[in-house]
Subunit: 292 residues, 2 copies
Amino acid sequence: MSADELPSWRESTARQSILEFVAAVTEPGSPDFVDEGDRVAVFDNDGTLWTEQPVYAQLVFALDRAAELGQPTSLEELHAGGMAALMKLVALTHTGISTEEFDAACRSWLATARHPRFGRPYPATVYQPMVELLGLLGNNGFSCWIFSGGGTDFMRTWTADGYGLPPHRVIGSVGETEFRAGHGGPELIKTAKVEIINDGPQKPSSIHRHIGQRPIVAAGNTDGDLAMLQWTAASSGRTLELVVRHTDGDREYAYDHDPILGSGTGQLLAAAAEHQWTVIDMATDWATIHPA
Amino acid sequence: MSADELPSWRESTARQSILEFVAAVTEPGSPDFVDEGDRVAVFDNDGTLWTEQPVYAQLVFALDRAAELGQPTSLEELHAGGMAALMKLVALTHTGISTEEFDAACRSWLATARHPRFGRPYPATVYQPMVELLGLLGNNGFSCWIFSGGGTDFMRTWTADGYGLPPHRVIGSVGETEFRAGHGGPELIKTAKVEIINDGPQKPSSIHRHIGQRPIVAAGNTDGDLAMLQWTAASSGRTLELVVRHTDGDREYAYDHDPILGSGTGQLLAAAAEHQWTVIDMATDWATIHPA
């Protein structure tokens, strides 16, 4: 492990614990050695791998698309209407079209949409230190997966470029699709039936279903990730749990609650303290936040 | 492509069309060349990759486990009771325990159970020619996946050894799992709520969800695989569709309907004829059926 691994990380306990863990599970003869096929790492996405403030990118996409479809709504209306209003917005903007049409709509939006504060495309708000971590793990024989509350189809339109992950490694919330003959051949239509909200205790279930192996690395930033980290920590061998803390109001955001849905961080931080999980403090541990 | 690829296949149109397809999509400069990351192949399991007669192995497991649990039932009762009786048997034998306990129960059964006609462990009833095909595709940069109506958790207990496929590439029907604290740490409990019956039009939906890419190779043996083959055939580039026909009563079985559930083959064979898909005739095309 050379000293210039993870160049966007400052010298810190967090960086040191990552490098030390990777060395311990990959060096042949190490008491903690793990076979390559068992090196599974799972990551939350929003707030763990990219910026989720002031509003989830996918929600901005939905609001923009609703306006485009002639049925505009606002964040204020969503806050007032709660989960029912959100599901109505999702049904309007994410369903009734084929997976290929939805893919095209996402890509078209991503090409022009800009983050309101950073003035850059949303995929350029990924965290450079975490992209380097994905690369470090990949280079050391890990398979890295995303388990997010965001929509699978939305994420997959940019995660291949953004993180270098193939689509099957990017798992989120899922609506039912319906197979139809279609005009130009068979197609899958996205329906309004929500199959999985991929958050909280659902994350370990999704991991079991999609990977079928226990992870040995997990990273998250809110209580919605707690079960995923607990599931990982309970593996029989050595594991690494990472908690990203948003402490940097100058360069990113400082907050303790998810935007919109309001998931907190209290349980996660308590578990981190109890089990000595690795807490990443953005303000002090990262030399760079977003890619140049 | 050397002449001793697929050694258990007789010289035949089917073997020739497979070898020709693989060469066409993998040779740099070929007009049909496909990038390695896009070489996705999907296979049905029961009756396509291993013997499903006289009764699905998983059903034998369920009957044996029901007897062990002191609530024996018989095939006759199942036939009489239809889908409701089957679901009751599944609930009794596949749920209410942790994923790890279920895994152990499957492995213990597999270690002693023997196929009634061939006298060998069920995993030794895989089709040697298809195992060779999986190997050929893997050696040529394909990722091979299974999309089966069988249970995901049951299959994954033996498919790594049987086919060399990692668990995430083996997808079947799925019941909900519930995350619980547990005595020895967190566990996932298998519940009686069926989430997905992975058959028919559900197969393309599952492929979209688990892979997120269109396959270019698909193989099946009943009408329950038709949608998967149609979905594959509608890809923009060159594709290969394989239909396994059970024509060999001497060495395996000759039949046109799934055991138990009774899915037919009429629609699949009609589509194969219409679109010139590759039909594999077990009796004439395979020199060997099961591994030595």
